[in-house]
């Protein structure tokens, strides 16, 4: 039998989960972005709290199945856990809980919380003289309706937080016309590029770009 590709394994893991029809679209829209991110980030599944790791905060806590599948695929927890998604005896809720799920950095679900927290994590790593470690945070395009994100965007650009990278998965779900998101981020001094959110090489190139301020990858899917 042929060995499954990483993608096939992720889809297999996701297929074990049932019941989150509401968030299906948001799960699959982030799959490529998160899969490639965990190929780029410096993490140790055997030691989720390893001090030298890069950090990832899924701000868009909705539709976390892709996130859970990537974490399981990378060995943070057993893939069988996906079968207990959103169930009484499971640890995987419809929105991730950092106190229950190995590898989850932040408990999210309320939109617009992850990016301000990621700014704080970036500051904290800088204060500890660990600015070579990176902080990634993922929002959805509709999540950018929340004003708290723009507070953090204005601040991080002004503060030149070069260890911070924002990933916006843009599946055109915002009912407010946001125009070109990357251009808006550039207006606030971010180094922002739009990429094809299904193109792994483009995502990888986006994630590994560095600048003298915060960077952003707008993954259009």
């Amino acid at each position: 039998m042929e060995t499954m590709t990483a993608r096939e394994e992720l889809l297999e893991l996701i297929s074990h989960a049932r019941g989150d029809e509401k968030h299906d679209a948001s799960s699959f829209s982030t799959l490529d972005a998160i899969q490639v991110l965990y190929e780029v980030m410096n993490v140790d599944p055997a030691s989720p709290g390893w001090q030298d790791r890069d950090r990832f905060l899924l701000s868009k806590g909705h539709g976390p199945l892709a996130y859970y599948a990537v974490l399981a695929h990378n060995g943070f927890f057993d893939g069988d856990e996906l079968a207990r998604f959103m169930s009484w005896n499971g640890i995987l809720g419809a929105h991730p809980d950092r106190l229950q799920v190995p590898g989850v950095e932040a408990s999210t679900g309320s939109l617009g919380h992850g990016l301000p927290m990621a700014v704080g994590v970036a500051y904290a790593l800088r204060a500890r003289r660990r600015e070579t470690q990176r902080v990634f945070v993922l929002t959805g395009d509709a999540e950018l309706n929340e004003g708290s994100n723009w507070e953090a965007i204005i601040h991080a650009g002004s503060a030149r937080l070069s260890n911070l990278t924002l990933i916006v998965v843009d599946n055109r779900s915002s009912n407010v016309d946001l125009g070109e998101i990357a251009a808006k981020l550039r207006a606030f001094a971010w180094d922002a590029v739009p990429v094809d959110g299904r193109d792994h090489d483009a995502l990888r190139a986006g994630y590994t770009r560095r600048a003298d301020g915060p960077t952003a990858v707008v993954a259009v899917v």
Binding site: G112, M117, V119, G120, Y123, A124, R126, S148, E151, A152
Partner: protein
């Protein structure tokens, strides 16, 4: 020094002593806090006028093992970013100290936007939170030092209104001031002095509450006078702490008079003292209500 100045001085002190303290400002009290910024600007951050992000940034510091301290005016610290304190700190199991200035109608000329009678009730809905209402500058400074690293979301409410003198506080934040038989009075924060004045000639047990959430139920149950009458006097919306008093005294019959800030928007512009008189919260008015209650 005022309560606000003393608490800010204590913040600078713990910041300089403990490298694990992070300070997040929102464009308020910058002069008081400048020494911290000069000491280590990497962990003393003025985010600007963005209170939701101030709390979020503080939570980011807490995720990395820091003890964050956030400071701004009460409405913009307790009410505007309420959900950030609930989720980023409460739900995530993190600790942080939130210090407000401008309690209830301290800024009595500023109108309802700058009044905060509901801060303690709003924040008190968050599991694990501790809410501190000191009544003197010395108590405010002491509470900063004793709670900044307690691992829980903690709200410290400073006020321009102060008691005549500082009290040596009991560990649970409910301190026996005197013992009597006729009734039990719980006086919170800066309302202690006026309550004592109101009780002149009345044989009451007086408990001074500086921790309103959680109100120490063991001390209240143990120290309450045998008489059924209990009076709560608090510098926040009327009834804010009444449920905790009732729960602590559920084992016995209790008749409760709850005195606090009336739940309405204040439309007059004046000092806190003027509002006290208007709202029936000066010593004379409190005394009249207690005497009527006792019958």
């Amino acid at each position: 020094m005022t309560m606000r100045e003393e608490s800010m001085a204590a913040v600078v002190d713990v910041f300089e002593r403990d490298d694990d303290v992070a300070l997040v400002m929102a464009d308020i009290s910058l002069d008081y806090l400048r020494p911290a910024v000069e000491h280590d600007p990497r962990r003393a951050i003025n985010v600007g006028i963005m209170e939701q992000s101030a709390v979020g940034v503080a939570a980011g510091f807490a995720l990395e093992g820091y003890h964050p301290i956030v400071h701004t005016l009460a409405p913009f610290l307790a009410e505007r970013p309420l959900e950030q304190i609930k989720v980023d700190f409460g739900y995530q199991g993190l600790g942080g100290l939130f210090i407000s200035a401008g309690a209830s109608y301290d800024y009595g000329e500023s109108g309802g936007t700058h009044h905060a009678g509901g801060d303690v009730q709003a924040l008190g809905s968050i599991p694990r939170i501790e809410v501190l209402v000191p009544g003197s500058p010395a108590e405010a400074g002491q509470l900063v030092r004793s709670t900044y690293a307690n691992g829980r979301p903690t709200y410290l409410r400073t006020s321009t209104v102060e008691n005549d003198e500082a009290v040596e506080l009991a560990p649970g934040g409910l301190t026996v001031v005197r013992r009597g038989t006729e009734l039990t009075v719980i006086a919170a924060g800066p309302f202690l002095s006026r309550t004592l004045a109101a009780l002149d000639g009345i044989d009451a047990t007086v408990l001074y509450a500086t921790t309103l959430v959680p109100l120490d139920p063991e001390t209240l149950a143990r120290e309450a006078a045998p008489a059924h009458e209990v009076v709560l006097v608090e510098p926040v919306y009327e009834g804010t702490t009444a449920g905790q008093v009732a729960a602590a005294l559920a084992h016995r019959p209790t008749r409760l008079l709850s005195i606090g800030v009336p739940r309405r928007f204040l439309k007059r512009y004046g000092t806190a003292e003027q509002h006290d008189a208007e709202l029936g919260l000066d010593a004379g008015a409190i005394r009249e209500r207690i005497r009527a209650f006792l019958g």
